[in-house]
Symmetry: C2
Subunit: 455 residues, 2 copies
């Protein structure tokens, strides 16, 4: 029987495991970073998770980290962790294009605030991950930078917009990664790649230095192979002005989780959710109840379809403002498909946009009220498994993810196991990051490496 | 020498004074309300401050209040205070039209949240005050409900949009009044009528039951003849879910005010502010320094003209959403001038609106940063004195008031004395309501009644 994880223990270790190996001096950050760089070199040609790799920079950072661990002066639990960054987040000296052709030659002059935070925690930046053009889509079949394949099935989407981050984490090409999530862009790839993806409380990670898709709905989030790995990366990435990062981002334990009732979304009125996903949610609820959690079905009066329409309109209008100069100067640097999406914003009137903002505010208010009696809500992450590229673009995969963006509340997507060889996922939405992460840790299945990437 | 106040001591007493008279059993609420109703009957025909008077309802409420005071069971310091309500705020059983013809036959089915709060504090509602159509303007020359004249000079504007509230307070037709303030609509009439007007911290008074001009920028505010009267009304009107209403709304005393430096807006780069207003601001600064305040000039990097343009666009777009159904069903119930204003929103694109929201958010962020070292900011309320109706519509009087709406911070407009027979005003913007009110109390001149309304 093959192990379900990576055969190389350095790769299998993830963020938390590496920390232990570094502390025990069993492995150095230089060795770990070399192992990851070597995998990227060997495997990413076919996978397409990275759009930029900085071998020299990563090695330099790894050497400095090795020195710190050697002296017992590690900066944080993620000191020396090999991390990948989504291509819309500025990393000094690297391209900063957000998957848009118009910016392909732009180099970031300084780190985004969250990257600066990661560096000051000792993280090693391996490079940049591929993404859906402009973050506006969930397929990551990028016209300028290529496709990111699903590590579970070549030819299928890894999701998006942070498809590269999800695939890189799943394939063991980085220990963890940053992504961004406007309407589900961290959680959808997490769902499709069998990994953990956490969209934090709005504002917990700064958006400074991140190309906006929608400043109203954007969040920087984290991808990892466990809730604990996500929590480590989150703790290191939170804004400098947020106190108690470590405490708010540690996954909550069972005692705390069992102290208040949870809700599970009643899906009976919701069309388009596959039977397999419904089954996965039921299984997770059963698992939670067996662990001692009180989980009650909740019919949420929330118009998921209207919210995604409003979210797309708001995102299109705000994206147009973000890209105004480049659209005027280099319109050919935006694909036709992307321009068609942005046209949704261009063709709408100001009152239509005002109405969309108001709709979302009202939807959030009523959902907030309905959720008040509960510590959290369990719901599927995506309505189905990842599709082949040929059909993926037509699928509405962001049906169940925008709720957390609209609420500004944390949500962790976690794997629930495979169905016909492809991962399924559930998300835990909660009032606090540690609750969402704790539920994911308690209820998610341990990360399994896709078979063709284990060796 | 004539007294500068009202000859009738009941009218001269204002909110705080009435409370003392009631407590001493020198006057009953029934007597006070009758005195006010009699003045409205005699004087409002020419003034035009009210659009609806509820004599029967006011007398019933006054009787109940008199009973409470007789038994020593007053509900609050404003129990029995005769209050007027701006016509865009719902008062059960009264018209609820917001100065718009299309709604002239609509009757409110229940009280706005703030009116319910006032009633539970024992306030007596005299009636509804006139306003600029749809709250969208600062003249209060209403095509459906007539002009509100300035009590200081018939034929001049009392400001707007809460012109009726300001005029009613100044002319002694109510003890205090509620208004609303989106870009200055409480403070501009306060400036033009020589009264005190306070726009509270955003959200302190609920907007539930108030016709929206812009849900992004709307605030319910209070009009009174002193900072203390404003504070009493504010304390009674704050949302039921806000704690410590009494404490956050008591004007701060000198000791507290002198404990941190204040800023005064450097007007040297600002065009359109009259010499008289500049002189009034200088005099207030001198008065503050003499009282022991540390007041430093501040050049604020804030594009006042761009902000008013953005504010108007946002308000037009949001007003269109608010009035969508009525505009479709009864377009003839909106004046041509109002429809021209709303067209600003109709003709703008969604990205233009998104940009306006972003501009305002950025402007607020940078102003917030600049104000951080100071406890508050002194600046003129309006750029000049109230003009005759013939020229009033063309004047940009909302130049200096939107700053507080954009910041969501409290600001109190207070009178600084007369110039050529017309009032001038300065506003104190602060981080806390009690600071703004305290500065107004310390630096404002005592209310003076307009000569023709004293008797």
């Amino acid at each position: 029987m093959t192990s379900a994880s990576f055969t190389n223990p350095i790769i299998a270790a993830g963020v938390s495991g590496l920390q232990a190996l570094y502390a025990d001096r069993a492995v150095t950050p230089v060795e770990a970073v070399d192992a990851y760089l070597s995998r990227i070199r060997g495997l990413d040609g076919a996978l397409g998770a990275f759009v930029h790799v900085d071998e020299a920079g990563a090695r330099t950072a790894a050497h400095a980290s090795s020195e710190r661990w050697r002296k017992g002066k590690a900066l944080s639990p993620i000191d020396g962790a090999p991390i990948a960054i989504k291509a819309n987040i500025a990393v000094e000296g690297m391209p900063w294009h957000g998957g848009v052709g118009a910016y392909r030659d732009r180099v970031a002059e300084q780190d985004a605030a969250c990257v600066a935070q990661l560096r000051s925690a000792g993280a090693v930046i391996l490079g940049l991950t591929n993404m859906h053009e402009g973050a506006f889509g969930a397929v990551t079949d990028n016209p300028w930078f290529g496709r990111t394949h699903n590590p579970w099935r070549h030819g299928n989407t890894a999701g998006g917009s942070s498809g590269g981050s999800g695939a890189a984490v799943a394939a063991g090409l980085c220990a963890a990664a940053l992504g961004s999530d406007t309407l589900g862009s961290v959680r959808i790839p997490a769902s499709f790649t069998g990994t953990y993806g956490h969209k934090p409380t709005q504002g917990l990670i700064s958006l400074e230095g991140v190309i906006a898709m929608s400043w109203t709905l954007d969040h920087v989030g984290v991808h990892g192979r466990s809730a604990r790995d996500c929590a480590h990366l989150l703790a290191a990435a939170v804004s400098a002005d947020v106190d108690l990062a470590e405490e708010i981002t540690r996954p909550a334990e069972l005692d705390a989780l069992a102290s208040a009732p949870l809700a599970v979304l009643d899906l009976s009125e919701l069309e388009g959710v596959s039977p397999a996903v419904r089954g996965a949610l039921d299984a997770i609820v059963a698992r939670g109840r067996a662990a001692g959690l009180d989980i009650e079905p909740l019919v949420l009066d929330f118009d998921f379809l209207q919210v995604i329409r409003d979210g797309v309109l708001i995102s299109a209008a705000e994206s147009l403002v973000e890209h105004e100069a480049a659209l005027a100067a280099r319109p050919e640097g935006f694909s036709e498909a992307y321009r068609r999406t942005l046209a949704i914003g261009e063709q709408a009137s100001a009152p239509a946009l005002a109405k969309a903002y108001r709709d979302l505010a009202r939807a959030a208010e009523s959902a907030r009220e309905a959720l008040t009696p509960y510590a959290g809500l369990l719901l599927p992450t995506t309505p189905g498994p990842p599709e082949p590229f040929e059909t993926a673009a037509a699928a509405s995969v962001a049906l169940l993810t925008p709720l957390a963006n609209v609420l500004g509340l944390p949500a962790t997507a976690f794997p629930t196991g495979l169905h016909e060889g492809l991962p399924l996922s559930v998300q835990a939405l909660a009032w606090e990051d540690d609750t969402a992460l704790g539920l994911a840790q308690l209820l998610g299945v341990p990360f399994e490496a896709p078979e063709s990437y284990r060796g």
